[in-house]
Symmetry: C2
Subunit: 307 residues, 2 copies
Amino acid sequence: MEPFEEARERALRGAKAGIKSSYGSEEFALIQAINAYRELTKSYNLAYERLSEWYGIYFPELRISNPKTLATLALVLNSKPISRDAVAAAVGEEGKADDIYAKANATMGREMGDEERGAVKKLAESNLAMDSALEALKGYVTAASKRLLPNTSYLTDETIAAELLSKAGSLEKLATMPASTIQLLGAEKALFKHIKFGSKPPKYGVLFKLPAVGTAPRHMRGRIARAYATKISIGLKGDVFSKRFIGEELKSSLDASLERIRSSPEPEPRQHTHEYQRRPMGGRRGFGGGRRPRGSERHGPPRRPGA
Amino acid sequence: MEPFEEARERALRGAKAGIKSSYGSEEFALIQAINAYRELTKSYNLAYERLSEWYGIYFPELRISNPKTLATLALVLNSKPISRDAVAAAVGEEGKADDIYAKANATMGREMGDEERGAVKKLAESNLAMDSALEALKGYVTAASKRLLPNTSYLTDETIAAELLSKAGSLEKLATMPASTIQLLGAEKALFKHIKFGSKPPKYGVLFKLPAVGTAPRHMRGRIARAYATKISIGLKGDVFSKRFIGEELKSSLDASLERIRSSPEPEPRQHTHEYQRRPMGGRRGFGGGRRPRGSERHGPPRRPGA
């Protein structure tokens, strides 16, 4: 082989190895998994509603709010004669199964044609496949979050930790973000609306999914999200750089902060809330708003020409 | 049994039979099927993109644009060692299969962990289940449309006929609609925007899916949709009321109209197009616009106070 070709081969091998190692990091798999999980959850809920509505014309007496049970029942009740045991296995409750079994044999619903039967069966099967995919995705997300983000997972939970990672794009980006950015991850749309049009600034993004934030009284939510974001940002340094588990200490210090926030008195309602919705932030951040000096443009509904 | 109870039983039986017969009509099953088909198609496309992106980190060299092939390959390539025959069966083309097989054994992508393998497998299986459900739904929609809407299916196609039925809500409602309403079925949002805010009126809704409309030059589309709507409205009377197949005659008369439209010269661009976007329809249809007299309110972007 010519020396030039040899060098070229070596360079190619090196480049390939470099690409392989950059693909190698598990964070990218976790990001893909949480994105798939988020989207498939939505699709599954829609598919459940569709099946529930459709099945309602064959068996209007059926009331099932669990997507998996409904899909299983749609398969079980699809066969003639209906098996009493299969219904019981699908529902899990003897009394309820008897009830459904009796109603299914005397339903007011439409008689199913063969083609319809086939289509409903396939739809129910596809719902069950989605359910089982969601379970597998959730399992992987949980395990990978615990491995890659032990502190963050401990402070929040595995799904929220993975969501934060997915919004940030990579572990390193996430770990170098200031707490204020972490607090607003997932609220990008509301933030840009605030910057461009002067609507209220968002107080939380992904962190709203934390029970401690979502169920808190409205006036505390922002401060609770902020307390979480601060501790998460410290925890992330342990997750990504020093690889130390400091979750316990962070958790107890977080609990103390939450206690302080919860015992503080409710603030007076702010007088300038309305003002806030009108005034854009002007050129401060340079998102389009920078073109015009502060207050030079009116926002809100168009004016009546005669007014 | 007391006479009163007997009468009550009789009344109940009668009511049940009435409900059963109203559920009995196949049109409701068709509406459910086309709705499920429409929604599941969207979910499937999203799920395909997810799988494609995710699988890309394990096998970045793979380029597959068919969702079903990708899901099958993701399953086939998941097993170690990879079966050359299974790849060929999934791809269908010998040359391409060899190429994929060779690349798969020397990929630059990430090495898959066991948990990841399980999650990807379930996701691919759920994609395949969606694919097979879509096929079954499409089959049922085609058969039912041909039965319930033979003329409309003949003039357009089975899916479009079912979409029209789903937008109208029932066969009777659809069959008593004027052609102008049929033309705009599925464009409700644009129509209300036109009525309330004076944007351009829509020219087609569901009918845009007709190749004759969608691929026509822009200035003809409205007239072609209108020609279709007129014939569909006549065909529907045959579908629903007289139960006669008049598709052939309608089709040839439709073709003549289309020929006339296509051979007519391109109109001059209208001078008042811009005006159109500004002037709301006022009180003519009573959708909010009725509150103010025509032209009393300005639409468009807010005025600068100094202007």
